[in-house]
Symmetry: C2
Subunit: 194 residues, 2 copies
């Protein structure tokens, strides 16, 4: 379990964590298992966890005034998931996070996270790289939403996150891309035809 996290940190920091440093990381995280459809976060509650996905798949979504779900993010193996805004500000979240498949997570809390960042330089570095990657990906997704047609969005998803297409049902993918399931189905047909 923890070994997966260790390898992940080594990989993104392009380094090897010393044993004595990894002890701190191990202490800061605990294992959490979710069955399909169980929640890690309910909207209107304060987000307690930052979670690393060891196995499984989750989604983060909000519900609009008309009761429709909008998927903001997915997470699968080796991804992180949390509502940072809620976690850091200790304010109620607009999001739900639930398991799309049975999942094993390593979770930590805000307090432990803050301590950990002082104890482990590797972890701090990783957090920083994560932020950067996240911010670059977010910028691209903003532009995708503005400039791309439905078909281009689907192709972009295929190129950027092919794992998602295997892993999540089409209606969720549609929601993530901001399309209706009907349009998604038609676009998919188009794309696969070539």
């Amino acid at each position: 379990m923890y070994d997966k996290l260790r390898k992940y940190i080594d990989r993104v920091t392009s380094a090897v964590i010393p044993d004595e440093e990894f002890v701190f990381i191990e202490k800061a995280f605990e294992v959490k298992r979710l069955r399909k459809r169980q929640f890690l976060l309910h909207q209107d509650t304060v987000c307690r966890y930052m979670a690393f996905v060891v196995t499984g798949a989750l989604r983060q979504y909000s519900i609009d005034d008309d009761g429709f779900e909008h998927i903001a993010n997915f997470a699968i193996e080796d991804w992180w998931i949390s509502d940072r805004s809620s976690l850091i500000g200790q304010t109620p979240s607009r999001y739900n996070i639930d398991a799309v498949e049975d999942s094993e997570l390593l979770v930590t809390t805000l307090d432990k996270l803050n301590i950990l960042k002082e104890q482990s330089l590797s972890f701090l570095k990783m957090a920083h790289i994560l932020d950067q990657n996240h911010s670059i990906a977010a910028q691209k997704r903003i532009e995708a939403g503005i400039t791309m047609t439905a078909e281009e969005k689907y192709r972009y998803l295929m190129a950027a996150n092919p794992e998602f297409i295997q892993r999540f049902p089409q209606n969720m993918l549609a929601s993530y891309l901001g399309l209706t399931p009907e349009t998604m189905s038609r676009v998919r047909k188009q794309v696969l035809a070539r």
Copy 2:
């Protein structure tokens, strides 16, 4: 000039930078003046600067295959602007950044930035808070693009960044929101009518 940056850092970190620490910050930044329409970054070149806007207004935009500009970000007083992806990776940028008004900037380079983060804890903290705010704002903008109508987008801009509306011409605001200038004009009329 530098005092503006100092006050800014004090404000976002909710602290006061010690003089001996601010010396490092001062050394890392130099003044750069841009007349309206001058560029801080040209697409297909590596981004050299991370810039703090002391006075003025700038925009960051890409040009699509059909030659249309898409504004990705604005920056005015007390904002930062750069292409982080290009700066950090030292890879060619997809963006242009130019001055919409005559502007005074404090700029630093990747090397100086990395050194500075080791020298000044205040600066590191600030960078971290900046990242977080950025990532939260980006998430909201993604959702705005997916879920909001043209009118809602305009209202959201009014609420989130009223300064922009005073400062930038409508065709640029339209591009930023992913609307045509025509739609922007009609929506604005609607909104002001009430």
